[in-house]
Symmetry: C5
């Protein structure tokens, strides 16, 4: 638990307070207090629960929700405070095309912001750094401080979203470059689909939350701060739009993989057909002259063998010309699109 | 029929009442009465009907709906009470990827909760246990007691939903591992699709009901209890979102099954083509020297046979190199994705 | 044209009135009059037109709509009456998976119900029987009488909808059981798709109509009767939900048919490949020893022929083992799903 | 430009007025004036522009829109008049499954209707005929006259929509009847898809316009005329619903074409496989006895040749039975669906 | 930075002002000032920032958004001005089926328009030309001037949208004309899909912005100018509708490509089958008479060889007739659709 307080329009933000100092800090409405709980151990969670219940006196149900994970993003208004759940995302370490979500719970009051999370957030670390360096953010009040946290959190979506773009392009290139139907690429496409679907779901819920916060529904957010929230909303809207886009493109990857395999199968069958079409008649001719009839005049001629060899050559040539005219071999130039 | 009553802010909840006691219990508004009907036999159903009609004097149409099954989830407000239908789900015994729904009908009045069901509900059993152990739930009134039942009922959705997740992952793995197009897997995917579609439909209707209950539309739910209902709503929202997700993934399974089969067909055809391409020319060469022309100079040479065998070996080698360069055999290393 | 009247809270409903009696019957507001027109012939239609125009004085446009068929379900309010169009459905005689719609037009006034239809409705026949047996329905007024008709009409949707369920299951089974790609099954699937799409369209429009009627928009429906209309609405909602479901499942049938055919093609090609792969090398070996070179030492050995036959057996065995290891023949047991 | 005027409740509608007569005609509010511009030449368009600007004094922007084509259907209210754009459709001459749209612009005022179009409309011609025959339409005022035009225009959608139905059925039949994958049918399906998509788009926009007109948004339409507009709206709604339906069915045609081709490919491959499976072993047997080993005891037997021929017959018979049992040839009767 | 001012209802628009002149120009409410920033270099951007912040005193957040790129179209109202972001599009130079977007930020006040862009806009250049030639636009005020810019900007969407139409038609033709499955065409279809998806996304957001501007939400737009904005909105609506259309058609291209490849594969396999079916039995016959049995009576007959050759000819003829009757070769005339 870390407590930050900005008191008496001071030159700097103080920190290092204890739980016991909280009631006094909160009592003075001109202070701004930020309590950030990191619930990594059961002990930390219990301590947080105790403070949320006894010092802040939040609704027991929201405290329960707050300490749990696996919740949906939401925002709920109470007379004195706002309770919200948002999700941060970060790339999965072992799989660059996937990501994991982290839940950030919080409360916004007149002069306080409370945040609770069981995993470390880069965005929160960054905002702490910011308020240590300058009182600019804190001077603007609790709602602005919270905006700053959410803004950083949403900004960290962008690299993940950009990764998707790269992954889709990369997969598309590999699909076109592949030499044969490739189950491994299919698995990657399915993984991507899963991830994009999740991103869409998460950003849609989050968008709901930010829409409600940024459109003046809650008196806890002063009107002067609303434009800043709308800005966060706009960023998230872009992410949500993109994830919708990606879904389309990923399902296009399936179509393409499938079509490329169909093209390859077509190529192979064509090869088989041409090959068979050439050798089968030649073998037949050889077979005819392998027959053991006593009376086969050709067999006795001097040049019979060579004539037959020439006929075989001729048959081959005719067939090659036939396939060439059909466009099956040695593609003709007037075919304006060529096959990589 | 089981009747529970919490009277005079007593230390414990009483049970074991008879139908005759109901009018007196209900008359005192400070009591909280829960009547739970289990309509397993026609006799039980008729008895329930009698009590609902003559003691509680509910609208005849709602009583009819209540005693029937095969209804949609819904909630209807009457001046003195609320009538609702919700569905519980449990996994089907014979088929882990499917589930069956059970209808729970009920009425919520100022000081009473009535529940009717033709099948046993684990959630109701659990809440009974809870109120036997502690008066905590009953002290908070009828609406809170009902919330407790619904909360337990919705919680039991989660294991079913998690099973879907496992089933999809398991099926995906099996699709990638399958050695050939597999109708049995297709049947399983279709079953899953059916089940997920049903889950989506059921949770969507249920969501409607809980939305209306939890957003202050009905005066029967005091405002202090609303956050608890919103909590149930949030859980259901998560389930509904997930089932939407699953639908996408299941229809992705079809695509994958299809693509994997296409890949396998492609592999087989390639094998056939390579095989034919090697043996056909060899057979032709053998056929040529099987011809019976009298004048075939090669036949008389000492080493003709061995030269021809060598030529056959050469042709085979050339073809193998050709296919290897085409990437059809002995995949080259620079192909960065390999096929399991 | 049949006229029913319930007068002076009588013991029974009277019938057998003539058109001339209508003005007197309608003038007394305590009567309930039901006029049911069956417009099977032009003469009947013209007579109905005359009465609707001159006795009831309905809006000319609604009368025109009423006498036509091919209209969408709708409801329109006029100061003194409500005009509605709904559709009944019945299975097509020649094709159990299809159904035909029948238009029922009608008017609801303070003390009258007018129904017009060009085809016979089982639901109307049933309600007539009901009011002949008991005055219960009529005592509750015109809106309740109309509700009774609509309730019966919607109830008759259910068998058709259940038939769809059976048809889909039956088709799915036949797709999995089919021995080859089957155009006839495809045609049936397409017919089913057509029928389900129609059902969805029709029930969606009908739902609109019943939503508006059952949610208190029209003063012609007294509030005490609204719950009965909501009950009809709920039934229709279930039908509409199911038809949405069926659409999904039917389009799944296409996917499955296609995948099953792909599996079968894969099986056949595998068979062809294995067959060719075994006979081609054997034929080649036979071809080699069919060559006519003078110097082929093997030919002169005593056991050459038998050695070659053994080699041929060996080649076959090696190939069979190879295919067995590839999983193409004699499926190995560890493959946990088997192909019907 | 044709001008029609209905003056002083006269017995007939007058026509043949000049542009100069318009101000006088319009000044008398008891007149009804219909000015119909046909802008086939630039000169006509300029003349129309002049009158719209100087006599009617419409908003310059609407006049610009009015004289252009390629606009979306819309309706806009101005204090004294209503400006609307609607589209008529007619079948394309060269291609029965396609249609062309024609833009009809117009203005509705208290006592006038102005219509402008660059192509001839059958519906307008028809309404002109109607008002020449009877003053019935004109007596009911400007809004009713406009309704009459729109009603006729929407009625002419119906034949086109019915043509789609026929085209889809016809194409479906031809897909099932086709003997091989057919690019020409694919092209027709794609054309139909294009046309249906367009119809859906056009009718959707038009529906918007008629919804707004028919639901009392504009004071220019008296309430007594609204039911007539709602009637037009209902017709359009049916067309819009049908076009949505058709879209589904057309995309089903793609699926079917594809499946039918897959079935045919399956049939062909099966044929190839059976053929190869029969001749390959026979050829092998012949090959074996074509070998030139000196010591091949069978060759010397009297009946060796005939025994081998019999063995060949036996092999063929065994294979045929095998394929018959697999259901690949001579379909067995218990297969209840047969392939056309 | 270019500054235009229209002062004192002058005969012409003045330009060439410096940043220092701005406060004076803006102070007089009867002036109309247009400041157009082109932020191609960092220096220009900084200068713009300075003026926006210190002279116009816009909200810092909007200035930040304004100077950034990669924003979504949006419009935000402030008490004294409106802030908007719109996107222009232009075809990509290297790829005619793709396009790039350019962000245009701007502010609209009572007597000023501010535009900021980092790339050159043809539409802005055109409007500058227009106001240099005539004061017509400026006389109508700031809102009209902005309308003029947006109108030009949206007009430049049209050529890009028309290009899509051409690209789709062109691709469709090439798909039908292609001689084999073609990865290059697939890549083009995928590129088109990407571009159309983007167009849809961008025009949808833009439509939102223009809807809000043109429907009287903002007091900065006088009511007399609203119809002009609605006109721009209508143009954009058409573009948005078309892009929705194109998406459908592009995804149809995938289906068609796939079906055409399936047809081609079918053709090739049919060719292979026919070829094999003819040569395999002929080779078998030759093989039979190549056997070395001592007792093969036919071999000794005079005409045996010629009889066998005739039998071979007969077999070939029978097979050809068989395939012809099956419709596999020499398509019969009654097949009314022919394959290009």
């Amino acid at each position: 638990m870390e407590i930050f307080a900005y008191r008496n329009k001071a030159q700097s933000v103080e920190e290092g307070f204890k739980a016991e100092d909280l009631p006094a800090l909160l009592a003075d409405e001109s202070n701004l207090v930020w309590v950030d709980f990191l619930g990594e151990t059961d002990e930390e969670i219990n301590r947080a629960k105790d403070i949320l219940l006894n010092v802040f006196k939040f609704h027991p149900l929201t405290i329960e929700d707050c300490l749990e994970t696996r919740n949906q993003p939401k925002v709920e208004a109470f007379p004195d405070y706002l309770y919200f759940i948002v999700h941060g995302i970060k790339p999965e370490i072992t799989n660059s095309t996937n990501f994991v979500t982290k839940e950030l719970d919080g409360f916004l009051g007149k002069n306080f912001v409370v945040t609770f999370h069981t995993e470390r957030f880069q965005s929160i670390k960054f905002v702490k750094q910011q308020i240590r360096n300058s009182t600019f953010v804190c001077r603007r009040g609790a709602a602005y401080l919270l905006h700053q946290i959410l803004d950083q959190l949403v900004d960290l979506y962008m690299p993940v979203v950009d990764d998707f773009d790269d992954s889709i392009n990369d997969l598309e290139e590999r699909v076109f470059a592949m030499r044969k139907g490739n189950d491994a690429i299919l698995e990657e496409i399915m993984d991507l689909r899963r991830a994009v679907t999740r991103l869409k779901r998460i950003s849609a819920r989050q968008l709901d939350v930010l829409y409600r916060i940024s459109h003046g529904e809650f008196p806890q957010i002063p009107e002067t701060v609303l434009p800043f929230y709308r800005d966060v909303y706009d960023h998230l809207l872009r992410i949500s739009d993109l994830s919708e886009n990606y879904r389309d493109l990923v399902s296009g990857l399936f179509d393409i993989h499938f079509s490329v395999v169909a093209n390859k199968t077509n190529d192979i069958i064509k090869f088989l057909t041409i090959f068979s079409a050439i050798w089968l008649p030649l073998s037949f001719i050889a077979g005819v002259y392998g027959m053991n009839f006593e009376n086969m005049p050709e067999l006795k001629t001097r040049s019979g063998y060579f004539v037959v060899l020439s006929v075989m050559g001729l048959v081959t040539a005719v067939l090659l010309v036939y396939f060439w005219r059909k466009g099956w071999i040695f593609e003709r130039k007037k075919d304006n699109s060529n096959n990589g």
